[in-house]
């Protein structure tokens, strides 16, 4: 089965590719991998006042994995932490029209979002709260 137009578009013009410094304030980093296919995904969020102001990703894997993470960063921007928690892999599957064999790529993206959010929260918990 061929890739959908949306996958091809994200693959050719990935949004928000790059990275933040891990120890920068308000940055949460999620690194996940799929042991089955060896894809590696890094997704980062930058949070200010409980809102994700920026997101970046770096993915090394197939087109679907790149598209899934690219789309995820697009969706994350502007969302609150709580809203971001609600992004499901099925939303990504629907948006990108992923075939059954590529569903694990969207799972990887969801895992990456969750890992980034967890990392952000852990960092926020250990750091003194300056606002609020």
């Amino acid at each position: 089965m061929a890739y959908s137009d949306k996958v091809v578009d994200h693959f050719n013009n990935p949004r928000n590719m790059g990275s933040f410094k891990k120890d920068e304030e308000g940055v949460g980093t999620g690194m996940v991998g799929a042991p089955e296919c060896g894809d590696v995904m890094k997704l980062q969020i930058k949070v200010q006042n409980d809102t994700i102001v920026d997101a970046k990703f770096k993915t090394f894997g197939c087109g679907s994995a790149i598209a899934s993470s690219s789309l995820a960063t697009e969706w994350l921007k502007g969302k609150t932490i709580e809203e971001a928690q609600k992004i499901k892999n099925t939303d990504i599957v629907q948006e990108l029209n992923l075939p059954p064999v590529k569903i694990h790529c969207s799972v990887l993206a969801e895992d990456a979002i969750k890992a980034a959010l967890t990392d952000y929260q852990q960092k926020a918990d250990t750091q003194p709260i300056d606002t609020k």
Partner: protein, 223 residues
């Protein structure tokens, strides 16, 4: 092969693939694992020659040519058996795939013992991919191109050595597994040993996949 009822004469089937009473071919049950299918114990060190011989023997047994004059039911069964057999052989022939398959059998699903992602390895891979990107964008004839290429080459060699090291660790685990199976103990230290082997095997196999991917990328880019 588990005991079941012959689809044709309803007598109990105790033979491998044929009913002893009516001599009709029997379908491979969905629950039959690939080891059983090829008549091997669940061990990780297999003699490839013996495996191949058994595969050829069974391939002849189910070959469509021998079923042309048989009933449609028998033709269908032999054909689907041949298909299962092919997959079974392809899976068990390769030591890595064999181990992956055994892990899946032993742990239900491979994902059940999903390992924590190796953060150090990921950092390393991501950094290397950045250098790769830089090299791809560079003028390969320039000084910088040469420099980057040399860096990547060194990395590739180091990673390949690591892969070899991992594979020898895997072989050791395969041997440990087989030894444990041979003793057949169900004591709690034996259980702990079983879990240790499966967990380490899972870790090594997935790390190997990540390294394999980056090595292939490196090889393709600087070849």
């Amino acid at each position: 092969m588990a005991r079941s009822m012959c689809w044709h004469c309803q007598s109990e089937v105790t033979g491998e693939y044929f009913c002893e009473r009516c001599v009709k071919v029997q379908p491979v049950s969905k629950e039959t694992d690939y080891f059983t299918c090829l008549g091997f114990p669940r061990r990780l060190t297999l003699d490839p020659k013996k495996l191949e011989a058994k595969f050829y023997e069974l391939s002849r047994t189910f070959h469509p040519d021998f079923y042309q004059t048989k009933s449609t039911a028998e033709q269908t069964i032999s054909l689907s058996n041949a298909a299962v057999l092919n997959t079974a052989y392809r899976t068990l022939r390769d030591p890595i795939q064999r181990a992956e398959y055994l892990l899946a059998l032993e742990t239900g699903s491979v994902k059940d013992i999903r390992t924590s992602p190796p953060a150090d390895l990921f950092e390393e891979i991501l950094e290397l991919q950045d250098t790769l990107e830089e090299y791809r964008a560079s003028d390969h004839g320039s000084d910088q191109g040469h420099r980057l290429r040399a860096v990547l080459q060194t990395e590739q060699e180091a990673l390949e050595r690591r892969k070899v090291e991992m594979e020898s660790q895997l072989r050791q685990l395969f041997a440990d597994w087989d030894k444990l199976q041979d003793t057949g103990e169900a004591t709690s230290p034996a259980k702990a040993e079983r879990n240790r082997i499966l967990k380490q095997m899972r870790d090594l196999l997935s790390h190997r996949t990540y390294i394999n991917n980056i090595v292939n990328d490196l090889a393709a880019t600087i070849a």
